[in-house]
């Protein structure tokens, strides 16, 4: 269904946020719009914000659910800072989201839900649709419930069903405004609600009614279009961060010839990983919902000792609990992966908000000198590659790896170029299959990986444990010089990985005024800010570190090629301290610890400041 009656206006990018009560179907609406947008070839990034934990009362501020999407003809990396369009299905949604709307942005409101009761519940003294509180914006207030009612007049539906379908009206309207097709949504509705034909019919009629409404009212002079973005050729799908992590893990297991053993304990925002992997039994993935965080990682160590690829996932508080056990994995040099989907801390913190303040914890959060490998994913699609890389390092080097993600990546989504699995390289494991020549702590020179002799293999009986061990024989040893050798060895096990890492290659200018060094989910915002500043002829480069321990081999010398180094982080300066301490450079931090992602503008302003100085 295309629109022919109004003129078209082209823009580069649009940011839309669908908001409403959690029972209003905003996730459904947003995800349908996303799919239609993907099919039309725009680059996009999304961020759903849903009160997933416990039910909030209908119409309350805590019950607001939102779905944000930015789509563009350029390459974009974030779901957008300020909104062009805010769909506010009820007053609570308007209240919590209005501040993110650009001046002169468009508000689309369902008047039917702006009742006295709802207004009071969300703290509006007067109805903002009726006074001049929204004078800075373009307001389109419609009684969607009545409009849908009209469209389904002949169907004799209950009031509740009609009001449930008003989200489709909003979707139809916004689809018309931005020249999206309705086919994919219609097909989805037919399939998803196949068991309820009257719901299918009501939703489709509501959708079309919304679409036609745009066409008929005078409010809209034209339809906005966004051209296709340039993508590498291939087959794409939309993917969410936590899902991408799981794909990376099962791919790595297959390439390494191992079975996955996963254990976890439910914790926001990592629980999805447990859910998703529990559904892969036909991949022979074993999942174990442990009684607590410690049992989760300890059972992983047991499984790894017996030859599985062991993985556990948690968030900040769970990482704290796993400290002693992770130390045991380091001491016994076993390949396991710990996923930390970071959230705002300290302590219980803000479980649904994002932060990246667990870097120090990953590096230093254990007794004694206990180095682990630390990696960080930088976007939802990148979670696939980083998860694969984490497993590769763990298996090829017989060492535990911590992979840092965060709440923003966990639920955000973006298009993903689906790899051909036959082109993904195999991973070499150190399983010892012969029955002689085994020495549990004999290490391979190139990787310092020890032989992985697992129970059930004849002749390889041996004992491991957390006590200090002799560097040659692996027997318990309290010898002073041996201890120091082992301390150094465990550090070397991490350092040696850098040998095979690709050197850093800054994007943008290879030398110049400012180098922005980031890690984690700030990738998109930094990329856009760097592009913008370079368009204004500043010499700016961007390094986004996936490997945080060890660092890539030439990081130090690269930092010296710029006059200023800026480190944006959602913490109080952790990578900043590492870079300053390790490389003795006067790097500056952009530190935002508000439970929200860093914005493009914030990075841009800081770059300009440094470039100008």
């Amino acid at each position: 269904m295309t629109n022919k009656s109004k003129s078209k206006k082209k823009v580069d990018r649009v940011v839309i946020r669908f908001t409403g009560d959690s029972g209003d179907g905003m996730q459904l609406t947003g995800s349908r719009f996303t799919e239609a947008t993907a099919i039309m070839g725009n680059d996009l990034a999304t961020y759903p914000d849903y009160p997933a934990e416990i039910r909030a009362p209908a119409g309350s501020l805590a019950g607001v659910s939102s779905f944000q999407i930015q789509f563009s003809s350029d390459n974009i990396g974030t779901p957008g800072d300020k909104l062009d369009v805010l769909v506010a299905m009820n007053p609570a949604a308007l209240k919590t989201n209005l501040s993110d709307l650009k001046t002169s942005g468009i508000i689309i409101a369902n008047k039917a839900n702006y009742t006295n009761k709802n207004l009071k519940l969300s703290g509006w003294e007067f109805n903002p649709l009726e006074d001049d509180s929204l004078r800075d914006y373009r307001v389109i207030a419609l009684d969607m419930t009545r409009l849908v009612s009209n469209a389904v007049e002949d169907m004799d539906l209950s009031v509740k069903l009609i009001s449930r379908s008003s989200n489709m009206f909003a979707l139809g309207l916004v689809s018309w405004m931005y020249d999206r097709t309705l086919d994919s949504t219609i097909n989805f509705i037919k399939e998803k609600f196949a068991k309820r034909p009257e719901l299918v019919e009501a939703n489709i009629r509501a959708l079309k009614a919304g679409y036609h409404y745009g066409d008929t009212i005078e409010e809209f002079q034209h339809v906005v279009t966004v051209s296709k973005a340039k993508f590498k050729p291939g087959v794409y799908r939309n993917i969410v961060g936590n899902q991408a992590l799981c794909f990376g893990l099962i791919t790595a297991a297959e390439k390494a010839g191992l079975n996955i053993y996963f254990s976890g304990y439910p914790i926001t925002p990592a629980s999805d990983i447990l859910h998703i992997l529990s559904g892969y039994k036909n991949f022979r993935v074993k999942t174990f919902q442990a009684e607590d965080e410690i049992a989760a990682i300890m059972s992983v160590i047991g499984a790894v000792f017996c030859g599985d690829l062991g993985i556990t996932a948690t968030s900040g508080p769970g990482m704290a609990l796993k400290g002693e056990s992770l130390g045991l994995a380091i001491a016994t040099e076993l390949p396991l992966v710990v996923l930390n989907v970071q959230r705002a801390g300290p302590s219980t913190g803000m479980p649904t908000k994002t932060e990246q303040a667990d870097l120090f914890q990953a590096l230093f959060g254990r007794n004694g000198e206990s180095p682990v490998v630390v990696l960080a994913a930088n976007s939802p699609a990148d979670c696939f590659a980083t998860a694969f890389e984490a497993c590769r390092i763990a298996i090829e080097y017989m060492i535990p790896v911590v992979l840092l993600s965060d709440a923003f990546l966990a639920h955000g989504s973006e298009p993903w170029l689906i790899p051909q699995t036959k082109n993904i390289p195999k991973i070499r494991n150190h399983l010892f299959k012969k029955s002689n020549g085994f020495s549990p702590f004999r290490r391979e020179k190139s990787t310092l990986a020890r032989q992985w002799g697992i129970p059930g293999t004849k002749g390889l009986e041996h004992r491991v444990g957390g006590l200090e061990k002799d560097i040659e024989t692996g027997d318990v040893s309290y010898d002073p010089e041996n201890h120091e050798k082992m301390i150094n060895l465990r550090q070397q096990k991490v350092d040696i990985i850098a040998k095979d890492l690709p050197p850093v290659d800054p994007s943008g200018d290879k030398s110049g005024k400012v180098l922005v060094v980031g890690w984690g989910s700030s990738f998109g915002a930094i990329k856009e800010a760097v592009n913008r500043s370079r368009k204004e002829n500043h010499t700016v480069g961007h390094i986004h570190l996936r490997h945080l321990n060890p660092f890539p081999p030439n990081l130090g010398e690269t930092l010296l090629k710029y006059q200023n180094v800026l480190v944006p982080e959602m913490n109080s300066g952790q990578l900043l301290l590492l870079l300053r301490g390790k490389f003795l450079i006067d790097a500056k931090g952009l530190n935002k610890v508000q439970g929200k992602p860093i914005g493009v503008d914030e990075v841009y302003d800081n770059i300009i400041n440094l470039a100008g100085a």
Binding site: A38, M298, S299, H462
Partner: protein, 337 residues
Amino acid sequence: MSDQQTVTLSKKDFVSDQDVRWCPGCGDYAILSQVQKVFPQFGIPKENFLVVSGIGCSSRFPYYVDTFGFHSIHGRAPALATGAKIANPDLSVWIVTGDGDSMSIGGNHLIHVLRRNFDLNILLFNNQVYGLTKGQYSPTSEIGRISNSSPLGSVDYPFNPPLLALGAGGTFIARSIDREQSHLQGILKEAYMHKGTSFVEIYQNCWVFNDGAFESLTEREMKMETQLILEHGKPMVFGKNKDKGLSLKGSKLQVVKLGKKYSIDDVLIHDEKNKIQGLLLSELSYDKKFPTPLGIIYKEEKPTYETMLYDQIEKSVQSKGKGNLDKLFHDSHTWNV
């Protein structure tokens, strides 16, 4: 994985090259010896054994048995053993733990491994004291124990190990003593044969920090009167002349002397499958008015965790087909560029 053929092994195959370093006179030596004698009798290859421990004197055990072993961290052995058993269900897994390791810091993992009923074996070396850290009272020490951390006597009520295990849903609960060699061997064999979590409490003497804790049970003169050897299907009699027995009065146990008033018919028959009786017998642990039950207190058969898990996996492979990555990745809305 090796062939499941019967192999002939002997005790010396299970002796490792490590110097055994418990205090001379420690009950652990006796237990080690029985385990090393019994393991070869199971007829399974040596590489299929896995011994897991936590921290404590008991937990040095794996170093002294020449099998695969893991000396892990305080209290966490059951969790590690769980992962191992799921990864390789064919292994014969033995958890060696102590009263502090399993009932203090490890309490949580203990009750969950019992509840889940994995086919593995827990050997609890109960010496009612913290040995390795020099003598503090433990969760199984009797109330009033004087120790370094309780100079005026502890005010803690103790855990009753078999009662705790029963309450946690344990499917095999037994007790033996470090010194009763043949009895202990028999119990270890029964534990191995039971398909489910086997919980074996072994009274062990720490002569350095808690000497004589079980003297009344092991002293030649006394033990006849204090040991109640349980045998399934047989009446629960004890005493040098087998002249005393346990009887039920209402819902409580009582000791009766056989003679004019009570005959053998008044004595309760031990029924391993009777959970209520198991509870009553467990209650006797700290009661000096009764003999101490030794042997299998309770036993039941039910499917193990790993059997049910692998069942689900096989069914899933059958119904969905073996997992295919490319198919999985494309199982969503895709578009071509």
